[in-house]
Symmetry: C2
Subunit: 549 residues, 2 copies
Amino acid sequence: MASSIGIGEYLIQQLEAHGVRHVFGIPGDYVLKFFDLLCRSHLKTINSCDEQGAGFAADAYSRLNGLGVVCITYGVGGLKVVNSTAQAYAEKSPVVVISGSPGVREQRNDPLLHHKVRGFDTQLRVFEQVTVASTVLSDPQTAFAEIDRVLHAAMRQKGPVYIELPRDMVTVPGTTEHQHVDEEVPTDEEALAEALVEATAMLNAASQPVILAGVEVHRLGLQDHLVRLAEKINVPIAAPLMGKSVVREDMPLFIGVYEGAMGLAATRDYVESCDCLLSLGVLNTDLDTGMFTARVVRRQSVSANIDGVSIRCHQFPRVGLSAFMAGLLAAPIEPRTHGALPHPAMPSPFHARPGQAITVERMFQRINAFLSDDMVVIADPGDALFGAADLVIHHDAEFLASTYYASLGFAVPASIGVQLAKPELRPLVLVGDGAFQMTGMELTMAARYGLNPVVVILNNKGYGTERPMLDGPFNDVHPWKHTAIPQLLGTGKAFDVYTEAEFDQALDAARAYTEGLCILDVHLDAHDMSPALKRLTSRLGKRAGRTQA
Amino acid sequence: MASSIGIGEYLIQQLEAHGVRHVFGIPGDYVLKFFDLLCRSHLKTINSCDEQGAGFAADAYSRLNGLGVVCITYGVGGLKVVNSTAQAYAEKSPVVVISGSPGVREQRNDPLLHHKVRGFDTQLRVFEQVTVASTVLSDPQTAFAEIDRVLHAAMRQKGPVYIELPRDMVTVPGTTEHQHVDEEVPTDEEALAEALVEATAMLNAASQPVILAGVEVHRLGLQDHLVRLAEKINVPIAAPLMGKSVVREDMPLFIGVYEGAMGLAATRDYVESCDCLLSLGVLNTDLDTGMFTARVVRRQSVSANIDGVSIRCHQFPRVGLSAFMAGLLAAPIEPRTHGALPHPAMPSPFHARPGQAITVERMFQRINAFLSDDMVVIADPGDALFGAADLVIHHDAEFLASTYYASLGFAVPASIGVQLAKPELRPLVLVGDGAFQMTGMELTMAARYGLNPVVVILNNKGYGTERPMLDGPFNDVHPWKHTAIPQLLGTGKAFDVYTEAEFDQALDAARAYTEGLCILDVHLDAHDMSPALKRLTSRLGKRAGRTQA
């Protein structure tokens, strides 16, 4: 039965039902009608400077809100968010990409309409590669069912989806008598029971078990389950970088970020000497394992992920993370006893040394003391991220980064998505000068929508992480006078920082100035690096010396 | 036989052999080794702020140089240039996308390496949708042959290609004894002869034939052939917007830009009353036909394109544009006689009216008087482009725009590609304030490499072309104080322009200041538009009134 509501309106209703309150994007003629509809709904449209910024903001919004939306026009808009959508895919962030397109009637006879590439399905074919589900809403009979199917896939698989809405379909009524087909694969209960018996026996037999808590725990909203499980069985928790802040880092059972050679020695030694590793929602990426320097013994491992559980060398494909964690909570696992645990270094008061030039290490020490319960740290890839691994994060979900896909330029637009998702948090952005030139001007969104991120630019005059690998003029970046940005945007404050004292004062000034954005341009030596990057470089250098010229 | 040169070096040699002198891009760890190799070659690497800027610059460079190259890292780099590559595809610009990737040995066992999306072939699958040929150089036995094949396809089909170079293959020697397989489909000589006889008869029988000269004439470098043909048979030439400046617009046979309702009435009337239309290298896109308001009679048409010739309602698929034009030049076509021809309005001296606020129409009149032989006009989509259609372009290839794909933000990075391809030209960029926020900071390249574009920002406080269609807050743009940009970049001059007199003076100042970039922030009424856009809006309004609510 044709309903009284149009396809566009139904889509908006479903987004609202999933808790979406903001839609990031830039309009274009093929999507104007849908933007108009958005304006008449409870959803707020947020304009970015470039579509890429909207894509990144939507990804960050999704990570804190549960679902994010980017809405753009056909071709020239859609193909600008392929990279941010790929990041959402790699990092398990459910982002809905909504693209307008030429009307179904306009597409007949395959005319050369502007924004067309090869065929009218080119954009769909591209997004099929970087999403978990996709659809074109060209048929009112199936449009509502397709919206349900695709949104359900985003929520279930925690990945991005693509919805294309031809402009002549926006107000066409859809058919309401559709049956939602649930494509979810049910848990294999027998396998679950077997896996739980095995895991329970391994944990009970172990004298020094450790939990490694990863990003999927966050994406599935299982943080509280995790803490209850750890406390019930009294087992310490480490986190790889991608799982950083899945648990609050000042809780007694938290022993630090484990990332192979890149992490702190005490944490690494404790994890690598355990006799049972319970790995929950962890992706074993190169960066998360310190370029595969992590030494974990497979025959002592229980690993649970969204798509299955592995114990020692065998797999249970149809046992998911949520069911497995619920089962562990109820299983007869004895509380373990353990000796003293390592702890991440707690922040200590920072005393600026007069006239002392600022270094990466001292910068992070000062930031550690600066962090408060209402701040969310957003680190861009590179040394901003490596250094941030040593920061102590106070609350759940207070650390955000592109830790695996590692797309430079994520952090600034991400801060916009973060603060719109959780207005009670103030973003602290850590970003290199090279990455800032990619997307830093998306601070325009902060100016427009009254947000107040604090942006710390690690200005080392180039792509600093690459210099130790192979240097050349291609690693240089033309210097920007970042302090001119508040004038350009008509709002905000900016500070040039060369010394410890200046950094100290600028952070205090930023804390006091809550009316708008703040930029701290921290001028660093071009070859300075964080302790974490030094540890990794030293370890990789040794390995490279062994294995290749 | 294995050669003494590596795969990367062979690739560089072939690019040099095709006349490439600059490579645009941003390095990343998977492509560092190739960047290092580039630095040791005669090619100069040009760093953009964001990969998108490099993609657009390479496209513009290709249009003036014959081939352009963008070189980026895997995933986070490659997937940022999908849109610019799609533009190159749509607008027939041969751009080589070179992406680094994880080493062939690293990819074994499918590990989770940073920048990976779904599988290691995801990026290749994406680029297959927006290129004319693609390859992964993972096999030294075939690498050289693959490079030849793909570059040849770019040159033959005038489209972008994708070359992926795993980082452990850069210095591996390739096999030189490869045979280049020419995939070119040879001309069907019999069909060519038949088509020429028919076309000759139609032209000889016509009393008012017209040539319509399109973009493919430019891409194949046939501009001189075109002029010789027109002069030999004494037939006037019109150009659609996408073919603007294929011939110099002050030549006597040029009768103006023909774009249906959007163009000037005299040109439109002359073309639409012709009794034989010889269409050479024209793509009948919506924008080029004034949203399909062009009225051309098919039974009086001869249309030649790269991929075939059509005469009246029948087709000759294996007759290409080059061969057909060469044949026409030699064919027994009598010189035609014709009465007075329409001409585009030649620039007249501009007299600023004191205290008069600047309008779009007056702005273009002033620019028309400002243009000189050493300037290339680069217009961003929107009214910057529509208005620019009425400018009189002095030389070959002096007008550049994304006329069909219409990707906002092309013009500023394009100006960098243009000036590096032809240092004797000074770019005049026309760009809206919305588009400027997408890529305007790529002026950083001008600052870094000592270029001096003049950037005129049509600042109408939003996406002005969309306001007449459907307006809302989503069409607003947060105002930038553009005059702060020289301070941010450490070079250049900028001017705020509100009146005719201020525009006059600012353009004179820009002409005098050749040391660096100039920005003219032209503050326009939010609802002002060019005469061309008024013509189109009025015509489309009438049509919409007839056909739909």
